[in-house]
Symmetry: C2
Subunit: 425 residues, 2 copies
């Protein structure tokens, strides 16, 4: 079996795909019994191809020419963003070309439209690279666990956030300092908002939820909270209580309804996800037959992401003329539960004046809303008169009850800042 | 697409497959767009099916009748062992039925024969369940990483050994005691030799090596050392130096030749494999594009193993009439390097009389063979005259040089026991 590959976008990921297709062609042919060959590259800026030896490959500035090139069987969309990526993918599907994309934002915003176009044209639309880079997690969820009802997925899906939180944890740095260094060294994007505000993780969360529960999920229904409010003090208190703070995407089956949310959370230090450091990603899955499985690797970067794109190309080539699987499998729409209905344990960091009776008043209000305290940290403050931190860990409680209690607490005269709340995994 | 499934062997794994096919049929149909239905079960002991409601399923004591049943498209061989499993699989392939098996021993001993039979009959032979139970590692290596040259795979692949080593590590128990308890509670097989002597892990190591390097590998060429000689003292010294002891299967690309070996090893405590506790399995992979990836989950047990079998069945059903991939992809045969040619770091536990000059003599001999010492532990002994342990960690060295040195050392008059050697990951 053989496939001609066209790559739209010769930037970081596209350049990686080109490199793998050129250097590993014989390995792919031996290990997978298919011949995949790069036949066409299109990019607005062809200077990116300088220095690459591309014999027999058509190079153009025109994505439409690539899509219409009859030697192209598989179109890789690797330019990212909504437009013109969406236009190119729809054109390729319309031209009966299989499509491979790494574009999580586009999938999260226009998944159903792209899915319908692929089905209508009887071609594949694959997106392994859209979630967790080099980790074959889409394949694991769709194929590896195909016999399972998936109950719960919890992932560290943004390398930049995990890198920042890791440095805060292991080097005692503040969020702003690490972010600044990450931007300076080109490690974080400018502006970094898509990463640090949690939206990039939300895109991946949406894709995972759609896939696991066969339902359309509106991006707006996913609760999203980034890492910008996590302080070094939070990281230190969490460690003292035996937890690490990670930005998580969580989806869960809730008897017909589902949870889909993105926020920083306290992860017990003996949980495997707590060992996932720096820019690495990992996805923890609970399903009814396989039980717990975990998948770990590089969630970004030129070659890891390209590895996922090439795996999709090879899968398409290997399928030959067989009927392709639908890209997403939408069944009945399932309701995403609002974050207020979440039940869990919570970490609260109060900033308060050090007055007698503070803890009593706070706990009385919490108790009045049915929230009980599991543990507490309060350090003696050297500088009298300055506000102090009181850190409380709750027992299992309903989030809306906690929020009601905190609204009262944050109005108390000795409370100096809005109480910082973190969920516990 | 649809497939009729026949299950030979209704024991632990077969019973799990039957249960998943009955309970998750609609989930499989929704998520994978295929209908897989159990149509035939064969077992010598049909009492195992008592209490199961199997409407429309043929039940027989005769595997041959199952293989010849025209409603069976996929034959699952789940009886284990070499014979009659081999005979049944060859008969099924000869009858143009796809085969799914969990039989690692059979694959390790007769892989090429089974592979040739599948190719000759243009049917699939799949074996996801043969390695690491519920973890979709075969799929990850074959498909998820299809664009990669795989450089190195290191796996914890035997739940019984990992459980024993974990209890030795975290509860300070001796090997024999944990093994006894594991057998009593039915957790370890009787006799436990296949597990604790490393042979079960070697079967899986052989399958992984064949798959990663597209080569036939003789089981006899794989160096195998079990966990029976690991003492609680070793576990404790290792921890003191920042390591945990795990039974590992290791395969590595060595410029044309390969390494394939099974032995206990010291794993640095910050390596993800060190966090894999109790009966869990994990496989760490290094490849040229995706870089490091890790796959974790339950390596045994009824439902996790059945989950892998069902994934294979669904993959076969989804492929429809498309040409099947060859089960193994044998290219040029690659030489397995002898263990003596290994280069690495080593842990040495010497049992010696506490005499002046012991360490000097030992180090002189080691140095004479080019082995240099990185660190050393020697505890003061309360009971004078009793032998003491001296623990040495070497720098990188050639295993054959170390063995030559140890032959001399173990002949020294103050050495009371053969020096215990463990490799370091």
């Amino acid at each position: 079996m053989a496939a001609g590959v066209g790559v739209i976008g010769a930037g970081t990921v596209g350049g990686g795909v080109i490199r793998i297709l050129l250097s590993n062609a014989s390995e792919i042919s031996t290990r997978s019994s298919v011949d995949v060959s790069l036949v066409h590259v299109a990019d607005k800026d062809l200077r990116q191809l300088d220095g690459l030896d591309l014999p027999g490959v058509t190079v153009s500035e025109d994505a439409t020419a690539l899509i219409e090139d009859p030697s192209v069987d598989v179109v890789c969309e690797l330019i990212g963003g909504i437009d013109p990526a969406r236009k190119f993918i729809l054109a390729a599907l319309g031209a009966k070309k299989h499509v491979v994309t790494a574009n999580k934002m586009l999938l999260a915003c226009h998944g159903p439209e792209l899915c319908r176009a692929a089905i209508a044209n009887n071609v594949e639309l694959r997106y392994e690279a859209a979630v967790a880079g080099g980790i074959p997690i889409i394949k694991a969820l769709r194929e590896g666990l195909s016999g399972n009802r998936i109950r719960f997925v919890c992932g560290i899906l943004n390398g930049t956030c995990n890198y920042i939180l890791s440095r805060m944890t292991y080097e005692g740095l503040e969020f702003g300092n690490v972010l600044e260094q990450a931007i300076e060294s080109g490690f974080a994007e400018t502006p970094p908002d898509l990463d640090i505000e949690g939206h990039d993780t939300a895109h991946k969360c949406q894709i995972i939820a759609s896939l696991c529960f066969c339902t359309e999920v509106d991006l707006d229904d996913i609760y999203v909270e980034g890492v910008t409010k996590v302080t070094h003090a939070d990281v230190a208190y969490a460690r003292e209580m035996g937890y690490l703070i990670k930005l998580l995407a969580i989806v869960r089956d809730r008897d017909g309804e589902i949870e889909a949310r993105v926020h920083p959370a306290l992860v017990p230090e003996d949980h495997l996800l707590a060992s996932v450091r720096n820019e690495f990603n990992a996805v923890y899955v609970k399903s009814d037959a396989a039980d717990a499985t975990l998948y770990y690797g590089r969630g970004a970067g030129r070659l890891p992401t390209a590895s996922a794109v090439v795996a999709d190309i090879v899968d398409i080539a290997r399928r030959g003329d067989a009927s392709p699987p639908p890209p997403f499998l939408y069944g009945d729409r399932r309701t995403v539960r609002p974050i207020g209905s979440l039940e869990g344990r919570y970490y609260l960091r109060l900033t308060t004046l050090d007055r007698p009776g503070v803890l009593g008043k706070v706990c009385t209000i919490l108790g009045g809303h049915g929230v009980s305290i599991a543990s507490c940290i309060q350090k003696e403050e050297d500088d009298e008169g300055l506000p102090v931190h009181v850190v409380l860990m709750t027992h299992e409680t309903l989030e809306s009850s906690l929020r009601d209690a905190l609204e009262e607490i944050d109005r108390l005269e000795f409370i100096r800042e809005a109480t910082h709340v973190l969920r516990v995994l």
